[in-house]
Amino acid sequence: MNTILFLILAVVAVGCGINVILQTHPISSALSLVGVMGALAVLYLQLGGEFIAAAQLIVYAGAVMVLFVFVIMLLNAGKEQKSRARIWVRWAGPPLLLLFVGAVAYVLEAALPPSPPVRFGGFDGGTVKAIGERLFTEYLLPFEVTSLLILIAIAGAIVLARKEID
């Protein structure tokens, strides 16, 4: 059951991921990314991350990507015209990429000690309660710093956006 679900979601995720980079229109990429996020959210649930799954949907899919779509629509970004061949990228890119994937997979294979298989509910540290407790006790400082960061980001975004309004 678990595995079937995983396979389905993995297929969905990878499919959408490929779609992200194959689609020529940014909005298609954005929506494919939303698909990836949805799949990942369910995977998080499988891994016992209730809170993170919800956050994934709310923050990423619900806010960030909507912002992307909004901007794409605002700029009315058209299709991307065919790349004039930058030759070395054409030839160096794909093998480099495969090498990269291989390396990462290999490292995972090598670095990962044999670990328990995933069962649904095998880990209950991801509930909102648990996360909240740790977030507001030992991770309090990072949390506050993050809020500061967001404040700065807001200010920066406003400044940047305002500059080209007037």
Binding site: P26, M65, V71, G93, E109, I152, A161
Partner: protein, 108 residues
């Protein structure tokens, strides 16, 4: 449920490999796409992949730190998206293009 030829319990490594593949896809998108927004989206894809591996590792270690890290990643990604998109807006307003290679005046 009919019995399946699959393990009833998923190996953790599968999740990690999935995240690796997604990450690689993100890298590919970053490298091969020339629309700034798409490049940005690829970055988000990479971040998501990393989050997945965070969460899987925290499953393995039975600690919620991974979740907290990925939470921070999300928050930072949100901030980054806000600023980045604002920058993209400005670039577009100034240069009427989203071609990432047009925006190369930073050299020399």
């Amino acid at each position: 449920m009919p019995a399946l030829p699959l393990p009833a319990e998923t190996p953790l490594a599968w999740y990690l490999v999935l995240s690796a593949v997604l990450f690689a896809l993100g890298v590919a998108g970053f490298l091969f796409r020339r629309n700034i927004i798409t490049v940005f989206i690829s970055i988000e894809l990479m971040l998501n992949a990393v989050n997945l591996s965070f969460v899987s590792f925290s499953y393995k270690l039975k600690q919620s730190d991974g979740h907290i890290f990925s939470f921070f990643v999300m928050v930072v990604a949100a901030a980054e998206a806000a600023v980045g998109l604002a920058i993209i807006l400005t670039v577009f307003k100034n240069r009427q293009t989203l071609e990432i290679d047009e925006v190369s005046s930073l050299k020399n």
